[in-house]
Subunit: 424 residues, 2 copies
């Protein structure tokens, strides 16, 4: 039954029915949170062993003889650089270890590029109106960074292959365009995996600005829900072949592998960028936490160790994602009032309702005790031009709570859609 | 025997004698480092117990119910804020926890003030030629930060009470003056402790710029070498009384208490600054490492625990400082070619040779295998206008090595002085 074909009378009856269901949910006094991509407690339990890998009986020395307890090691200990390099498919010499989050690392890279400049290019602040390309829907915290620096953001539509590359290729001819935010693997929130063609075209981008950079946030690089993990072209390698390696900044972290907030992060780029950034960084810090880097190395051993660990995460997350996707299929399928992805990895389900219903759906959920990410959050300036996208984060609540929240979500999305159709 | 009264002939004889001694040292092929204020391995051993305070058997929850392993807690866990607040003599609500170093925290505060602005004031970058006051000799890494942002630095002479406050009070009438770097307790490198009068005058500073801030780096807040720790007026409290609390930014860290690079850092300021900065920070990070904050809380328990721990550091450091100071007294005392402090805490001995001899002394030491901090490092732009100041860092080498290094240092300082006097 496609709701868009219903008469006003039918819609009114449906509305009354949905309102009744909604009121029943309201009466339950729920207090559930599907707003952020936080790991659940059971996922965090998987890494508790990391707290035991170093004790007062151990000697804390890196393979190059550094006392991990003392100053030094600006770009990280060799073992950690190797671990993260293997994960990112680059050489350890192309890695700088960051602190406890890649968000901070990305923020600092934007801040440096904006104020101090990048290898071979002047500071972005020297451009009167610097701009950034933002594939949408995207990661709200990315957009918040560029917004804080007053960088104008341009929405780039995405499809199942990634951002609209024709538009990107056209826009980078403008020298005031300084960068693009990308989440190439299980994009936040759409869950899409950039196709090799898209990665190839990103690698070859012929930007007019010599201080243009691709901020390639590989936050979900090993965050597969299923065993058939997609293979993806390596951007830095492809960009090297295209003679455009200087345009690539890659990021990742263990925030959703070990402990969120107590993980390690890593940055990868070509030799010139690395040397330039290390020099800039040396004024900001002496080193990040080398002991914590060693904890990760000892606990995971190598990149395969991380991949094996991620299968345990997947076993916990998969039922949650399948439950929500199943609920959406069952309750909203075929009604013509929304579409959603069935992600193969990452942390989110992206729901697109009827235009003009997202804010209302989120408000209805909130009034019944279920917090979702704010409508529009996945767009620059928090403004979804169609007011239709909602990011669902199924990772944190236990399955039982999630089921209730997802059921309520469906009712709210349906109610908002019916209200909307009645007004048309 | 005061060298400045000697004849050229006497000086020449002395020179030959010193050169012989110097050559003997050179022949030993030394490789010693007195360049940075690094803790020694035995000092780091004092904190090894910190690696045992948390294990996989513990529940990692803060007093306000936060799962330390997950996202959240932008300004730190309540227990850590209390610990650092007690150390700094402020209220926990006046504290924001930083990452693994106060250097990074200070850098970020400068970066934010420069690009984004401070509470009640526009970004420093809006001022055509922003300036900073730099008590000298001072901390090279402070000066490197302001230099990186292109902030013009003005040398402020210091005496045994702290910076020349008359000069400071006069200069802050200029609205392009945006801040001052201070190390109030055992200043780096002079070791002086700001007098209460100086702190009081800092607290009352009537700066013309509404975005003026005192960067008060209490790096050595509990780093006493002797039991008679000085009491010092609390800047934030005094500034509150004077109605100038908004001008105060205070910093400290456990870098030289627990592990350098794996410690925790803290920032303190009044409520308005804290609220404003937390909002700015929320774009940069979700939180710093809460697990490591808890490790520090469990290991030290409270501020008194830290103070007791610092007595163990002092027991290791005191003989090193006394050895170097004793060597300087014995070998250079009464010769009229230099003066030095006998610090009661901190990490450095500041040596002032004859004008025009510091670079030569450092070069002589280096050629004989002893690395010192570069001459001029304690001044903005690395330029000691008189070329006389050398920072000696006695903490890292074992006493036996230190003795050799200090003996060589005396010969080099003497030789450089004699060379200089011969040219006059």
């Amino acid at each position: 039954m496609n709701y868009t074909t219903l008469s006003k009378k039918q819609l009114s009856a449906l509305k009354a029915e949905l309102e009744l269901k909604y009121q029943q949910f309201q009466a339950r006094g729920l207090k559930l949170d599907m707003s952020r991509g936080k790991p659940g407690a059971d996922q965090l339990d998987l890494s508790m062993g990391m707290l035991d890998v170093l004790s007062s009986k151990d000697s804390l020395v890196s393979s190059d003889g550094m006392d991990l307890r003392n100053y030094g090691g600006l770009d990280g200990i060799p073992e950690a650089k190797k671990l993260m390099a293997d994960l990112m498919g680059v050489d350890p010499s192309e890695v700088i270890m960051g602190g406890n989050s890649s968000l901070n690392l990305m923020y600092d890279m934007v801040a440096r590029a904006y104020t101090l400049g990048v290898y071979g290019g002047e500071p972005w602040c020297k451009t009167e109106k610097p701009k950034f390309l933002c594939p949408v829907p995207g990661y709200d915290r990315h957009f918040a960074i560029t917004e804080q620096f007053g960088i104008q953001m341009i929405n780039i539509p995405t499809d199942e292959n990634g951002p609209d590359m024709e538009m990107v290729e056209d826009l980078v001819k403008d020298p005031t365009v300084k960068g693009i935010w990308c989440v190439p693997m299980y994009a936040n929130p759409s869950g899409i995996v950039y196709s090799d063609e898209v990665v190839e075209r990103l690698a070859r981008l012929d930007a007019a600005a010599d201080n243009f950079r691709i901020f390639y946030d590989n936050a979900y690089i090993v965050h597969h829900l299923y065993d058939d993990a997609p293979k993806q072209l390596n951007l830095l390698k492809a960009a090297k072949k295209a003679g455009k390696a200087h345009q690539v900044y890659m990021f990742t972290s263990t925030s959703k592998i070990s402990f969120a907030g107590s993980g390690i992060s890593a940055f990868a780029a070509n030799a010139e960028n690395i040397a330039y950034i290390k020099k800039q960084m040396s004024i900001q810090t002496i080193s990040h936490d080398k002991i914590n880097q060693m904890r990760h190395v000892l606990f995971f051993k190598n990149a395969d160790g991380i991949r094996a660990h991620m299968k345990k995460h997947a076993a916990i997350l998969r039922p949650k994602f399948e439950m929500v996707a199943g609920m959406l299929d069952k309750n909203l399928g075929g009604k013509g009032i929304g579409s959603w992805n069935t992600p193969r990895g990452g942390y989110f389900i992206s729901f697109n309702g009827l235009p003009g219903t997202a804010a209302r759906t989120v408000a209805l959920c909130k009034e019944a005790g279920v917090v979702l990410t704010g409508a529009g959050a996945a767009f620059p300036y928090g403004k979804d031009p169609e007011d239709k996208n909602i990011r669902i984060a199924p990772s944190y609540p236990p399955v039982s709570e999630l089921e209730v929240a997802a059921e309520l979500f469906c009712i709210c999305a349906e109610l908002a859609a019916v209200e909307k159709l009645l007004k048309e």
